[in-house]
């Protein structure tokens, strides 16, 4: 167990280093930079500024310098947002993205699980067929299309929710539902398979034979076994919700990290983009790690190596 955690931590450091190196090299490989805009600085001043930021040194020295900065937690200044350094942008955006993500995930899990269970219990019925078709459609449509359709339906046709913005609960509902719908669909399918699998086990038949009600058997005996594949899907799901928020935040004009990232990438704000890529790597890795850990706790037979 300890060995597993240590190995994962080493892996994390390695991954972050790879991401940092690749993005550093990419950034330096691009001709032009923050100083080659339409309004050029006088060459002497540019020289001085470059000297100040060590851009005139050889590339390996810059690399070491930059790496040192990031290790001490300083991601540098944003190249486009006035008066912001990368840490401030993250401090502002992260809570927003996290709130959106958590809400979307809980929506996905609640809806997905209940749909999957109902589908499995009434296998072959009309409800099963309808729920699974809905789930497959949910998987087959890009999230921005789902967002567009739901804006048309719930903002303009039946005005229940505001179209965009951030701050109130009502503004949170629509983006979170759009973000979570794909994962609700996936979870529903996985939970259905898991439930069907568990329902055919001997211990479930025994429980039924003892005279327990169908519902009690399903929830108390079959469900824990069916949860395993769902939990292992949560890793990729969290990753997907994190990255998927790029689209949703853009459509609903939510000032979270995804929105900042796209802005940064499109405006070539390299320091901000790199800081965010590193942050996302860290988040992704941690989530996968937590899922692996919880997998071992849920099922004692799983050995963590």
């Amino acid at each position: 167990m300890i060995w597993f955690i240590v190995r994962r931590l080493i892996g994390l450091v390695l991954t972050l280093w790879v991401v940092f190196t690749v993005s550093f090299l990419l950034m330096r490989a691009v001709p032009g930079g923050p100083y080659s805009g339409e309004r050029n600085l006088p060459p002497e001043i540019e020289e001085n500024v470059k000297h100040r930021y060590r851009l005139d040194r050889p590339i390996y020295e810059q690399y070491g310098f930059e790496l040192g900065n990031i290790l001490s937690g300083d991601f540098g200044q944003s190249m486009r947002l006035y008066d912001f350094d990368v840490n401030q942008v993250i401090a502002q955006g992260l809570p927003i993205s996290a709130a959106l993500g958590i809400f979307a995930l809980s929506f996905a899990v609640t809806l997905g699980l209940s749909a999957g269970i109902v589908s499995a219990l009434y296998r072959g019925s009309l409800a099963d067929w309808a729920l699974m078709s809905l789930a497959t459609i949910g998987i087959a449509l890009p999230s921005f299309v789902i967002a567009g359709l739901s804006i048309m339906l719930f903002v303009f046709l039946i005005p229940v929710f505001p179209a965009a913005g951030w701050g109130t609960f009502r503004q949170l509902v629509l983006p979170a539902v759009c973000l979570g719908s794909l994962y609700a669909a996936e979870i529903a399918r996985i939970a259905r398979t898991g439930m069907l699998d568990a329902m055919s086990q001997d211990y479930v038949r025994t429980a039924r034979a003892k005279g327990l009600s169908k519902l009690a058997v399903a929830l108390r005996h079959a469900l824990p076994g069916a949860m395993m594949p769902v939990v292992s899907f949560l890793g990729p799901a969290v990753a997907g919700i994190l990255t998927g928020s790029v689209v949703i935040e853009r459509i609903f004009a939510i000032p979270g990290l995804g929105w900042h990232f796209v802005q940064a990438a499109l405006q070539r704000d390299y320091t901000l983009a790199m800081g965010l890529v590193l942050l996302y790597t860290l988040l992704l890795y941690t989530m996968n790690f937590l899922v692996d850990l919880s997998y071992g706790i849920l099922d004692p037979r799983v050995e963590l190596k």
Binding site: V18, M27, L141, F144, F156, R250, L276, V277
Partner: protein, 417 residues
């Protein structure tokens, strides 16, 4: 294919000989019993054929502007109209002009060769002017070639598509279908754009998946077959790559590569946005493939039939090609059908961010994005969203169902669940 081979083989055998059922035949029989999967297969074949023969269909050109008909809603009447304007004579006329330009181009290239051969130290200027002249001339050549089609409202077309457009004009004349799916911001016909978008969306999905397949199978098979510490190192690398948020890296790379000067440089090498997309996506989606193939190879390596082949002295290459690869096929096919939809979704995602296919080319993702962009409280142009996303949705729906069906058919153990 398998079925034909099997039946011709059985004709040669005596009638009472026990017939072996090949894996492919067995799987095909199981797949045929799965009604949803078969319906999906048929739907996909139809979509593929329609996409391929789009230039032959009586549709309006996808990029023909009618600004006066901006945002015209779908209407069924008139169902057909004589609105297809195409100048066949211009195509004929461009032939002679093209051969002339080609001759000039050849001359320019010869001159460049000459400058290179002489290689005077101060000839770099001459070299540059010569290269620019050649580039301009070859641009001119493609302009002459494409102009009649561009005037009619087509994006740049390949040779087969050009031939199909000409054939369509000779067969159907100016008749084309009315705007039964409405018109967009520039009055372009949405139905026609959805059809032309299919061509790019599908080809992007297939090619990018094939790239990932090539990398993944090679990598996974090597790791699995060599084994030992090589396998360990190769799989650790995959583990690291797994936790990199690739969507962000891809956005990063594509924005860098689409900077104007870099883009011009890449285009001089014939690399456009779509090619970059193929490579980048192929470079991401091979990870799962590599893992799956490695696992399969490791379990196959210890199978009795591989040992038997080794015992009779078969060469390494023969074992890999004849015994291991065919057994990987089922895994690979299932993976293919399940990856194509993911790649198509990813293309849609990038198109949404403005980093995917570039106009005048269209893809379903780009079309749906155009629809999402013009959502306003004043008026809902539902047809701009509904038709492209229906096309995308149906295709991905069918691919998902076919993939699931194939998985069940090729691996009966899973089907029981």
């Amino acid at each position: 294919m398998t079925i034909n081979n099997a039946s011709s083989a059985s004709e040669r055998l005596p009638a009472n000989a026990a017939k072996g059922v090949s894996l492919g035949k067995d799987a095909w029989r199981r797949l045929r019993r799965n009604r949803m999967a078969m319906a999906s297969l048929v739907a996909l074949i139809i979509i593929g054929l329609l996409a391929f023969f789009t230039p032959l269909l009586p549709l309006a050109p996808p990029d023909k502007h009618h600004t006066n008909l901006q945002y015209e809603p779908p209407k069924l009447f008139p169902l057909f109209a004589k609105s297809f304007e195409f100048d066949l004579d211009a195509v004929q006329a461009s032939r002679s002009k093209r051969s002339e330009t080609r001759r000039e181009l050849a001359e320019l290239e010869q001159r460049l060769e000459q400058i290179r051969r002489e290689a005077e130290p101060n000839s770099s200027l001459a070299l540059e002017t010569s290269t620019t002249a050649i580039r301009r001339m070859s641009n001119e050549l493609s302009n002459i070639l494409q102009r009649p089609y561009r005037n009619a409202g087509f994006p740049d077309l390949g040779a087969i598509s050009r031939w199909m457009v000409r054939t369509r004009y000779t067969l159907l004349g100016e008749w084309s279908l009315g705007s039964i799916a409405g018109r967009d911001e520039f009055g372009r016909d949405v139905l026609s754009r959805v059809f032309w978008g299919a061509r790019i969306s599908i080809i992007v999905g297939i090619v990018a998946t094939l790239v990932s397949l090539l990398i993944g199978v090679t990598y996974g098979a090597l790791a699995g077959y060599i084994g030992g510490w090589v396998d360990d190192v190769m799989m650790r690398i995959v583990d690291i790559l797994y936790s990199i948020p690739f969507i962000f890296v891809v956005i990063f790379i594509i924005t860098i590569l689409s900077q104007d000067d870099i883009k011009a440089w890449l285009e001089s090498w014939g690399i456009d946005r779509i090619t970059i997309f193929y490579l980048v996506v192929g470079a991401i989606y091979w990870l799962t493939m590599a893992r799956v193939v490695r696992g399969q190879v490791i379990s196959l390596r210890n199978e009795p039939f591989v040992e038997a082949a080794r015992a009779v002295g078969a060469r390494q290459s023969r074992i890999i090609l004849h015994h291991i690869l065919p057994n990987l096929l089922s895994v690979v096919i299932v993976y293919l059908t399940l990856t194509i939809p993911r790649v198509m979704l990813f293309e849609a995602f990038l198109s949404f961010l403005g980093l995917g296919v570039e106009p005048p080319n269209v893809s379903w993702g780009l079309l749906a994005n155009e629809g999402v962009k013009v959502i306003t409280p004043v008026k809902v142009y539902w047809w701009l969203i509904v038709f492209p996303s229906a096309a995308l949705g149906i295709t991905l729906y069918a691919l998902n169902f076919l993939g699931d069906g194939l998985r069940d058919a090729l691996d009966p153990k899973l089907a029981a669940r």
